[in-house]
Amino acid sequence: MNPMPMVALVGNPNAGKSALFNALTGARQKVGNYPGVTVERKSGRMSLADGRPLEIVDLPGTYSLEPGSPDEAVTRDVILGRQEGERLPSAMVIVVDATNLDNHLRFALQLIALGLPVVIALNMVDLARRDGLIIDPDRLSAELGVPVIPTVAVRKQGIDDLKERIGLLVGDGAQRISAGRAIVHEDIVVVQRRARAIALAATTEEHGARQWSHRIDAIALHPVLGPILLAGLMFLMFQGVFAWAQAPMDAIGALMADTQAWVTAHMADGVLRSLITDGLIAGVGAVITFLPQILILFFFILLLEASGYMVRAAFIMDRLMARVGLSGRAFIPLLSSFACAVPGIMATRTIDDPKDRLTTILIAPLMTCSARLPVYAVIIAAFIPAKTVGPGIGLQGLVLFALYMMGIVGAMVAALVLRRTVTKGQSPGFMMEMPKYQLPSWRDVALGLWTRALIFLKRAGTIIAFTTVVLWALLSFPKPPADSKANPVDYSIAGRIADGLAPAFKPIGFDRDIVLALIPAMAAREVAVSALATTYSLQAKGTAADDPALDRNLAQRLHGHWSLATALAFLVWFVFAPQCISTIAVTRRETNGWRWPGFMVGYLFVLAYLAAGITFWASSALGL
């Protein structure tokens, strides 16, 4: 067994490595994880002109061989042949940005010194020309002593030349036995000076053309216009998520309902039918209903990232985030979590600092996601009178706003506390290169979306589908005896769990029926509405949970059963409680283990219990 030769793509962040990777491999990509770390292994297949296959691995962008983050440690270990689960590359493609040659060459020099066969992809030569920089690749090649190929990865220029050169480097594809040479520990400043000299020598022409990026930044980073532009873009993003995701989500819901109806019509009643309709189809449905939102959010995030705007957004928000020990990088993931925590948590990958990232993941569920809205809507409609408390300010809207604020303030307080305790460590700081603005390539955005969708479906999806089936089993078994008049749900394990938990929830004003409704709401928060409807003996079958008529009826019923104090406590519970298996699953995936999702669930439950309790006791004391 001789595995195909592996070629590693290495380079600084913002060198256009991912675009080059896409250009070399097309859609034949695989995203995995390196063992034991949350670092992605992005690999793809490429065929040489003579048909020989190669594996291309896109290593995380890094500035040097001294690792400052897990990503960078993996890059270093792979090219030194030390990374567990990875073979030593047969060759390296060093990607350098032609517009930023002196800085990128410093890292290139360090890489060349390792002794692996290398080729330099002198990328973004078009942007360099736009900026008035002409670089002589032959001169550069002579200075460095390695081949240099000019490329424009986003336009697929120079790719064939690069492939040809890779073919020569890999040779007959024999595996290299020797490990790479050790790192040359030369002072970084010395190497940087040498790089500057080489860059200057290879640059044949340099005139100060007006740089586009500077003009855009004059607006995007303007002290007044900048935040307005950011707010506008975020508003557009949310409009997009809510306006575009609703139709496909409804369609998926309808498709699932049709499938359930079809199976119900064609199968005999029994455990198997129940498993398929209420367990499997509901589980798969729960997974793919999230997809439209995830894809739309990621579409925006990828655009912001690829265009270079993301770093500007982080720049604008950094000061505010710093107050709670986070950095500007946490802003977009947290904002995305208002639509859904799942893509928000997936978007934390853009945060370099591991503790900063972990803190962001842990507080993301506190952002009020769209699945909480149906629950809030029903309870508020039932208990909060629709009166105005000021000009144009309705009490119901005010309560909704207060719930959102409670989540935000809770998240900020949680971040402050976490940064001083479990995710303690030096504050992440904020030191970033601001990349040039670039028109994103649609192909790269599409490939990025495709990869994200696959990750979600494969990794989070399996866990979500599995737990949905487990929940179904808990709610369905054991069956009550045929002669029993007991409600099957009451008789089930879930019913008994609710019985067991009820005393614990009594102090915060939740009766057993509420506890029972919370169990299926673990699959998706909005299920709480239909679960309550079932519990309060409404016809739940065949009525969509968001049917306004059902909401009205349910609201009246609830009004009879709950005190206002209980209702308020229930709302507050939903602000904080980790009521969503998808979030837990994706946290497990993103933190590579059960430790952090376990911690997240624990601290959020404690928070939810205390907050709901305080609400209940305070409002009871006020006689509500």
């Binding site: 400052g68 400043v189 930044d217 002290p223 604008i316 950094d318 000061r319 030096q426």
Partner: protein, 96 residues
């Protein structure tokens, strides 16, 4: 004068960087991003809230750092003449 008190759009030259005052990781990243003695630097943007962080142009790169880090960098504002001097020095390094 320290970098955190340099006015916007006023070219300066880095005289010294107090590496000891920075965390090792920060110091390393700063070096990797091209901060070095004798390098020309110019502040081009500042954050809208509390004028922090700041964006500095170093070589062909624009780099965002917090003011706290900038306080470790000693600079000397350049006159037009000074800028020319640095340029010749840069060329001299290249000629080596």
């Amino acid at each position: 004068m320290r970098l955190d008190s340099l006015p916007m759009r006023r070219p300066a030259r880095i005289v010294a960087i107090d590496w000891e005052a920075l965390r090792p990781a920060e110091a390393r990243r700063l070096r990797e991003l091209g901060f070095d003695e004798h390098v020309t630097i110019e502040l081009v943007h500042q954050g809208p809230f509390g004028r922090d962080p700041i964006a500095a142009r170093v070589g062909r790169m624009t780099i965002a750092i917090r003011r706290a880090v900038a306080a470790a960098i000693t600079i000397e504002p350049l006159t037009a003449q000074g800028a020319a001097h640095v340029h010749t020095r840069h060329a001299a390094i290249a000629a080596e």
